[in-house]
Amino acid sequence: MGSAATARRMQAWGLLTPMLVIMVGITAWPLMRTIWLSFTSTSIGGEPAQWVGLENYWQALSNTAFQESLGHTLYFTFVSVSLELVLGVAVGLLLNQPFKGQAFARALLVLPWALPTIVNAMMWRLIDGPEYGALNALLVQTGLLEDYRSWLGDPDIAMEMVIVADVWKNYPFVALIMLASLQSVPADLYEAARLDGAGTLARFWYVTVPGVMAPLSVAIVLRTIDAFKVFDVIYVMTKGGPADSTKALSFVVYQEAFSYLRIGSGAAYAILMAGISALLIALYVAMLRKQEGST
């Protein structure tokens, strides 16, 4: 009996080995190596690397560029994920209603999300163009704006324009998850609620929300992780400008490692970034647990 169990366990390990080898090779090893690099003075083509302990981390935390970009990244993450959530839920609810052309509208919804980020960013850069951009044309012709203006060249609004581009591309993801989870809310619950005299808002709050909460929170966590490491949309639209006002954390990491060739401190920046991201996720998970406990 005991030997049969051992054999089965051995077989399980044997079957798992290839996957474990791949995971160690492509995830664990590079991660360990990055952590090791972050404690050294490694640079591309520079002098031999030396162990510098926590110096890179102190340098990052005291670097104003790092602090400012952390602020920009948190702002970007918070605003764009919030907007994506509100818009995604609203559109999800809308597309759940039966109407003519519903299938077509649902297919259309996927379009922005399926677009490569670079293409999306290039497109919005053209739309936001100060001289020949569609946005200026639209706003001026409808009388909402007096004269053509600069969007991406204005440090007070450039970040918001990048957020618009990101929201347009990513809200469909939330909407699709919303749409899918709405299908799984049992119809008889609505029926029962209606019989009990619940109005539209009450039905939404007490039937729909609990039903879609779990899948939606997954969507929020995924979007947060993604938004926090934002890079490409900014690289294409503003390259961190004007006057560094859209410089995100991942941009600073990239610059440190590949423009300034300091791989060691670049690794430390990256680890810090991953740490902050993990912290955000932990916060979400804790909040969700608390919520589940209370309902």
Binding site: G45, S150, G153, P242, Q255, F258
Partner: protein, 414 residues
């Protein structure tokens, strides 16, 4: 059944052909830029000429925007062998690339007799500490372009020779309502802005370093920034310049929305191309202006060179390719978007024809061509300058204070 056999035979033939080719050929991998100067089509045509003349060698071309060029070269070096054999590099990088060992020293490959035949400004593009790290290939600087029709309408007989004159002429054009913003520049937070800044700074007699210390906040270097800011405040320079790079400047000028533009030489023939431009027949070009009592003209060295990477396994073939790309015959054949590095080429009809103004302006600019700050940490220095300059142009900081910050931050670079 027969169909299946036919496919099988075809596959076998194709396979054996491919393997035969692999034995006979060497493939070079080369990194170029898709922005200003030679177009992608030109580079492909030059390369295919090379492949025809050298049957054993194939060249795999890759094009990236200027902004990605430096980091691509660096990352490929970090990745070890199997990267690029030939790379295009900017005039501001040899100090860094040579001191870090990214490029091969090619001093011995360059014929001593060729040295006096090429413009000195081109050689500074590829040299560091008396050694050559490549062959100059693009010889370029920023020129002052003007719309001849707009100047005529404003009653202006000759393009400006000084920045002061440019300001006056722009004011006349603006006041007469000929165009809303007469001057357009590439002042996005990118390298292009540093090129415009350098042009202005040297014309004001500015020095980037005084006694070895950064001095962006002193003398001509500061006056340049004040000029830039004042020109935006007066509505003479297009405020959108602050988010423009070279291609945006070209579009604005070619669309007839500017009387003056500062840009690289490639814009000359593109602005004269009816497919690309609405100002055909109205394009004027001169050297960038100087400053009364200080300079007669100004120019920034925006040249680029072709080098062999340190880890290339085919340095001989790579050099052959570079020699072909920079040969007088090749450069004279494709002289519309980028002028040759060779002095003698400037008087050849094939080069001059149809672009006498461009060639004459270039000859004058080459004499005053100045370098951007020289340092092995150029990328970081440039980022510091870009941020502080941009803050001034956007009205977020005063010129003297911001440039003092830039000097202080630059002094801390190692």
């Amino acid at each position: 059944m027969q169909q299946r056999r036919a496919i099988l035979v075809a596959a076998l033939v194709a396979g054996s052909l491919l393997s035969a080719a692999a034995h006979a050929e060497k493939t070079l991998s080369a990194l170029f830029m898709a922005q200003a100067a030679y177009s992608e089509d030109d580079v492909r045509a030059m390369t295919s000429d090379f492949e025809k003349a050298n049957p054993g060698v194939k060249v795999k071309l890759e094009f990236v925007p200027y902004d990605a060029l430096h980091d691509k070269i660096v990352a490929a070096h970090g990745a070890g062998s199997g990267g690029y054999d030939v790379v295009l590099f900017d005039v501001v990088w040899p100090a860094e690339f040579a001191s870090k060992g990214f490029l091969q020293d090619v001093t011995k490959r360059i014929a001593v007799g060729d040295i006096p035949k090429v413009f000195p400004g081109a050689w500074t593009t590829v040299s560091y500490k008396d050694k050559f790290y490549g062959m100059p290939w693009i010889l370029d600087t920023k020129f002052l372009f003007y719309n001849t029709e707009m100047l005529k309408k404003a009653g202006i007989s000759a393009p400006p020779k000084t920045w002061g004159e440019l300001e006056k002429q722009a004011k006349i054009i603006k006041d007469k309502g000929i165009v809303k913003y007469p001057v357009v520049w590439s002042w996005a937070q990118k390298e292009a802005m540093i090129c415009d800044y350098t042009t202005l700074s040297v014309s004001y007699g500015g020095k980037f370093f005084t006694d070895g210390k950064p001095s962006f906040h002193l003398g001509g270097s500061l006056e340049a920034v004040q000029y830039m800011k004042a020109s935006i405040d007066a509505g003479l320079s297009n405020p959108n310049s602050r988010e423009y790079e070279e291609e945006d400047v070209r579009k604005v000028f070619s669309n007839g929305d500017a009387a003056f533009a500062l840009n690289w030489g490639y814009m000359y023939n593109m602005a004269k191309d009816p497919k690309e431009s609405k100002v055909v027949g109205k394009v004027g070009i001169v050297s960038a202006p100087g400053v009364d009592g200080k300079t007669v003209a100004s120019a920034v060295n925006g040249s680029m060179g072709l080098g062999i990477t340190a880890k290339s396994a085919n340095p001989e073939e790579a050099w052959k390719f570079i020699a072909h790309m920079s040969a007088p015959a090749t450069q004279e054949k494709y002289a519309k978007l980028s002028l040759p590095i060779w002095k003698a080429s400037f008087s050849k009809p094939a080069v001059k024809q149809g672009q006498e103004d461009y060639v004459n302006a270039a000859a004058k600019s080459l004499e005053v061509m100045a370098a951007r700050p020289e340092t092995p940490v150029y990328q970081e220095l440039s980022s510091i300058l870009q941020k502080n300059l941009h803050s001034v142009l956007l009205g977020k900081a005063k010129p003297d204070a911001a440039m003092k910050l830039a000097s202080d931050a630059a002094a801390k670079l190692k």
